[in-house]
Structure formats: structure tokens, C-alpha cells
Assembly symmetry: C2
């Protein structure tokens, strides 16, 4: 039943993309998916950490994202985390689940950003709730690898 629960989340996610495309046009998908994701991420952290001590270091928080948040979303951990130690972190997922369904089609490269936008929003919402306002962008290279670049605000 686990895989069906995963499918439910995936179908919900992909139907939202389709809905936004039909309702507002393709150029609005990314904005809206990111917006919904932000709120989901913010709420998830609120619930997940309400009885835990807060983290002190930014790197601890980003590790929580790679490990625990990824586990909640995708039932696996992110594959790699890099930082330049000046407020930029890059999370890499070598088999990003939301790209599974689009990776074989020709429209893949155009679609990658749209299928990563919700997750960008979840990460931004989670980090904001941890007191780390930031921007999160995605980079889709070789299917189905996806990188999420986090730039912490106020750190240059």
C-alpha cells in the first residue's frame, strides 16, 4: 500500500500542475506550485519540530531538510549537500521523484522547473519557519537528477 500512497501524492502534485496550466496558463505554474509548497513546508516543520529543540547552526537546519524533510516528502534522503560557507547550499537528489514521469518525454527540459517548483517552495517554507529566510531555485541537469540551490538572505 506504500507505493499507492506515494502515487496519491504524485498524482495530487501532477494534477495541480495541470490545473494551474489550464486555469492560468503555463507561465503561472511555477509561481503557484512554489506558493503552495511554501505553505506546506512551513506547516510541516511547525508540526514536525514543535517538541524538538531548535537548531543553532544553519548547516544543522539544512541537514535536517536533506534528511528528515526529504524522508517525509520522498521516503528517502537527499543524495548530496554542498555549501560554499557563505550562505549558499546545494541539495542534490539523483532520482528526484517528481521527474520520474516526465523524464522520458521530449517536453522534459521545459517541464523540469515546473515539477521542481513545489519542492523549492517546501524547502523555502521549512527554512523560513526555522528563521532562515531564503530563495530556493532548481536546476535540472541530467534526468532525473535535480539540484536545489538555497541562498540565505542577508548573507553575501
Amino acid at each position: 500500500m506504500g507505493s499507492m500512497a506515494d502515487s496519491l501524492f504524485e498524482f495530487f502534485h501532477s494534477q495541480m500542475i495541470l490545473y494551474f496550466e489550464e486555469t492560468f496558463g503555463e507561465e503561472q505554474i511555477q509561481y503557484n506550485m512554489e506558493k503552495i509548497g511554501y505553505r506546506v513546508g512551513f506547516s510541516l516543520v511547525e508540526k514536525a519540530t514543535k517538541e524538538e529543540a531548535r537548531f543553532k547552526e544553519n548547516v544543522e537546519i539544512v541537514k535536517y531538510i536533506c534528511k528528515d524533510l526529504w524522508q517525509m516528502l520522498f521516503r528517502k534522503q537527499a543524495d548530496n549537500l554542498k555549501t560554499n560557507h557563505t550562505g549558499t547550499f546545494v541539495i542534490q537528489d539523483n532520482r528526484f521523484r517528481f521527474l520520474n514521469r516526465v523524464s522520458q518525454s521530449k517536453q522534459y527540459l521545459d517541464r523540469g522547473q515546473q515539477y521542481a517548483a513545489f519542492t523549492c517552495g517546501v524547502v523555502r517554507g521549512a527554512l523560513t519557519n526555522f528563521g532562515m529566510p531564503c530563495t530556493v531555485t532548481s536546476e535540472v541537469n541530467v534526468s532525473p537528477t535535480c539540484k536545489f540551490q538555497i541562498s540565505i538572505q542577508g548573507i553575501s
Copy 2:
């Protein structure tokens, strides 16, 4: 981690309601949530049953909804199924998960239909994919009990 995956689905669901309310106004929530649900239900059945034999009787299909579809959505089965044997079925869930968060607040009665609309759509989409076009309405009585009434089209 199971309960957090449940929370993810719940937060995604409730943030969609909030999104539709803010974007289109309260009166559009039910319509839009039902629409998304319909597509999710249609897709879920497509995947879940593609290697299974199709059912022959309507009642078998509705039992599949109560048992397997409910399990996918809520990790439990529905609590009761009634039929008048003339094309109407009533599925009852005594602890409908999407009502958990709204049941304590005063706005509960107004909100019930909105929080049931996605699931109405999932049921309608699933049944339509099984070749049973229908309408599905919800009835929220005593919190957090919810009834889903299915009226099969073309059967009076």
C-alpha cells in the same frame, strides 16, 4: 515517519483549500477541490487496477472504493456501506481525516462540505474510470463523521 507522510497529504489538501479561497473566493472552493479530486481518483484507479481483472458488479466496485481506495487515501477502510439497490450507495466514515482539523472550530459546519469535496471528486473519478459515471455528494453530520452519497447515472 508514517504520520508525517499523512500530515504532508493533509497539509497539501488544506493548503489547496486556502489557495482556492484566496484566489477565487470561498464559493469556488468546493468546485475546484472536487475537480482536482476527480482527476486524482481517475489516475489512481488507472494505476491500481491496470493488472487486475475488472469488476463485473457495481457493488463490487463500490466495495473496492470502501476498502482499497480508502486505504490508499486514509490508511483505513470506510466504516459502513449502504445501498438501496437502485443505484444509490452511501459510504460512511466515522472519523473522516480531513475533518479532524476543523472539527473543533465554530466554522466547522460551513467548512465540512469544502473539506469533503476533494474526496467526493476522488470517488467520482475512480467510479467513472470503472465505467460507472455518477454524482457524489457529502453529508457532514456529527463531527468527524462524514457520509458520501453516490448516485449512479442512468439508474433510477
